[in-house]
Amino acid sequence: MKEIRIHGRGGQGSVTAAELLAVAAFADGKFSQAFPAFGVERRGAPVQAFTRINDTPIRLRSQIYEPDYVIVQDPTLLESVDVASGLKDDGVLIINSDFDPEKFKLDTKAKIMTVNATKIALDIIGMPIVNTVLLGAFAGATGEIRPESIMEAVRERFPGKVGDRNAQAIMKAYEMMEGQK
Amino acid sequence: MKSLLAPGHRGCAGCCDAMAAKFTLMAAGEDCIVVTPTGCLEVMTTPYPETSWDVPWIHSLFENASAVASGIEAGLKALGKQGTKVIAMGGDGATMDIGLQALSGAFERGHNITYVCIDNEAYMNTGVQRSGGTPYNASTTTSPAGKVSFGNPRPKKNMPAIIVAHGSPYVATTSLAYPKDMIAKVKKAIEIEGPTYIHCHAPCTTGWGYDTSKTVEVARMAVQTGLWPLYEVEDGKVTKVRKIGNNKRPVEEYLKMQRRFKHLFTMEGGADEIAKIQAIADKNIEEFSL
């Protein structure tokens, strides 16, 4: 089983990202589960969402304490949230940032990768919506999921032009991360 | 018009509830469903296995008659059953106090129902306790007159105005003293699409303290003093008023008929209090040009 934790801010679509990841993983032939760490947080407050991916049906209902992967949608979260908490040593931490990974001194043995999802989103989608872009980056960085499945899930959720542009941005992020591996 | 309220019910001799229910059913006819909240009317008409209702009838709880009526209306609509009228009939407590929220919700949602408030101005079923319908200075068991009290310290809640504020297409006040007027108004209310409201002033022989034969007489006096104006409001505008004209009587005559106001005639300062009640009546007369 692979466990993914997504850190974001209320309104950034962290929960949607976790759901889309679950939908995409299922399309890939896996079983999946996505759920929010639902609180009373409003827009802007730090939030978390989780996804589990497995070859067999998922029964576990606890939160995720030792994730294989962590996605950070907003680098300013690093100031207040221990995003690397419990992250497995052989895991991957993906941060939305235009800085190099080396700049982030985090208490983890996991691999840190960065992608400027905000720029990709602005360039291609025309709005700073990074949740779907980071899923493309996740696919590229981890190989856990096919980018086509993510694009399909996103197109399903956001039909028409919005979905198409998102899909394009997902592919771009995917390719960038693939190159870094 | 056939009475659809069977005899054998346990209402007191001279019971106002029985009269109001009978008038309402005369107006509604057989093709209706009646909802009654907890109160005298429910208790006296339905001791299992007997019922006085010759129409389909349901009792649920004290505070939810309007919600139950909403559900009946919605259910009939969903099942494609047309024509059946839905009527809720509740006392002043069930209408103006504990059931007000459900009533407000039902009227705001615009269900096609008619609500009849049978207002005998106190919780009679439990033994004459004060309600939001109790008038100024009436002595009840929870607002008794005493050495330092003239009874209920607040005037009646203006319930019809609250319903008018909900945008109801038809609101009317009625009195047991004018049965034909009441039957006509209930009929009109039922025929009008949307939530309509009838507020019936209903003297209670037991709670108000007068002889059983005087229910109609006391009701008539309330109208003639101006304490209970009879009017209709259609789409927010007063369209019809029953004039008192030369029949106008001082409130004193109404008050002295009833034990609940007796203290006003024996206590020091009672005359001043009666004058305040007269002022309430005069204000009604002016407001509705009675």
Partner: protein, 86 residues
């Protein structure tokens, strides 16, 4: 009898409960004075004033509780309340 789940009962069954015994006074008609205005029938809280074929009325003493509203309201004083002989 068997009880019906939900406390459901058949219409109008309270007719088995004869409330005539509640009376202290009973209404009596003076047909000569009656103008057939029907007010007594309309006002009776116990539906105990029954129309007759000739347009006059009779009391259903099985249910009449003797409240006296009919007598009090009769515009021609055609009804009087007399003490029930028990």
């Amino acid at each position: 009898m068997k009880i019906v789940p939900g406390a459901v009962c058949e219409a109008g069954t309270s007719r088995v409960n004869k409330t005539g015994g509640w009376r202290t006074f009973k209404p009596v008609y003076d047909y000569d004075k009656c103008i057939k205005c029907k007010l007594c029938e309309l006002l009776c809280p116990d539906s105990s004033v029954l129309p007759k074929e000739d347009g006059y009325f009779e009391f259903d003493y099985d249910y009449c509780k003797g409240c006296g509203i009919c007598a009090n309201e009769c515009p021609k004083s055609a009804i009087t309340m007399v003490l029930e002989e028990k």
